[in-house]
Symmetry: C2
DNA sequence: TATTTTATTGAACGGTGTATAATTGTGTGC
DNA sequence: GCACACAATTATACACCGTTCAATAAAATA
């Protein structure tokens, strides 16, 4: 068969990503299959490779979609909130991960070949999330420490990530930790206290 | 061929784990292949399945070996150290991950099927590492807060893990973070200050 | 020595990502 | 209106993967 003007290239791209993301949410990274995605949308496997070039690029596109959803969720949660916005942001981190277990986990299961950098649009999506959190961190810092916001934001994200990761992968359950979110929030508060009390 | 008394079952187990671990360090979780391990030790793929029962159990055995090496390294680093032992422990966390990138990452890339618990000996190995760190955390806490050591240890491990993970998977590089270890150590100090200053 | 037990094999199966030659519908120029 | 060129799509082939299992051969037992 030849050209099938049902869809433009971009529409097809969108269809594949949508179904791919659904697949990722259902099956998880380990069981994800590009062939299965092709089958479900009624295209052949070859078409996926014409559109994305490789398995890795398909995964990057799907993970990019997850980042989009993540940022949108974060902004929705923060909209209109006046008090404790950073608290809400951390809670949203956990809640999104719990609501999209497999897709969220896939963000960290996938790794590019050594030395290869992620495409720019992927980096942009990630940075957008970090920037959104950075705004909340900055507003919690006293003005004289405003310059600490970027570095502190990245450290707090790592901190929260560690707690969230251990909560989802069963490590905390194995170790008897019962309130990962509450614990993560304690660590965030501890870090902010460093600057609120003018130590160092 | 039939019984080949070159090795006992346990010796063969050991041989497979040793070569499997080597393979894991070289290729990483995504490219790891049980068939390749079999080929390299001169046994057939069927034999691996007779010994371990499944791919998952083979991986668990290899990851268990990584945990053994991790604990041994941590103890070696702490041996004879008198000051700043917790600092050394955190440094050892990072250094082991860097020295055994692929094997360390595989600990977190691998996930058992939903609802399945890891075998007890795996849990024991993990707990041993946590306990070793807990001793150092406890010795940093004032006596009146000794009861906080278990929960705080698990939280600090998650904190350090998050920083180490982002350092290794390229996230920090993408975000311009230059000193992941130093940043993690700051977060550890912040958490300890909560109890050293008698807040809350 | 005959028989049972046990370790080991390797082929078969259904799945994967990847590459590419062949095919077919569409749009263009004559 | 028709032939041609283009571009999208497919089907097939390939080399791998984890998994299963009947067949086999060597050691242990009787």
């Amino acid at each position: 068969m030849g050209r099938r003007s049902d869809h433009t290239r971009d529409e097809l791209r969108e269809i594949i990503i949508r179904e791919g993301h659904r697949q990722m949410e259902e099956a998880g990274f380990a069981r994800f299959s590009a062939r299965e995605v092709a089958k479900r949308i009624g295209y052949s496997i070859g078409t996926l490779y014409n559109v994305f070039g490789s398995y890795d690029h398909l995964i990057l596109a799907i993970n990019g979609r997850t980042l989009d959803l993540w940022l949108a969720y974060l902004e929705r949660r923060l909209a209109g909130v006046e008090d404790d916005r950073l608290h809400v942001a951390v809670d949203a981190y956990f809640q999104f991960a719990l609501d999209h277990r497999h897709a969220w986990t896939a963000l960290f299961d996938f790794r590019l070949p050594e030395g290869e950098a992620p495409p720019e649009d992927y980096a942009v999506k990630l940075t957008a999330i970090v920037d959104a959190v950075e705004r909340e961190v900055a507003s919690e810092l006293p003005p004289e420490h405003a310059d600490k916001a970027p570095a502190l934001t990245r450290s707090l994200l790592a901190t929260v990530h560690g707690h969230c990761f251990f909560a989802l992968n069963g490590t905390f359950e194995l170790l008897g930790v019962t309130d990962p979110l509450g614990t993560a929030l304690e660590r965030v508060r501890d870090a902010l206290d460093r600057y609120r009390q003018n130590r160092e």
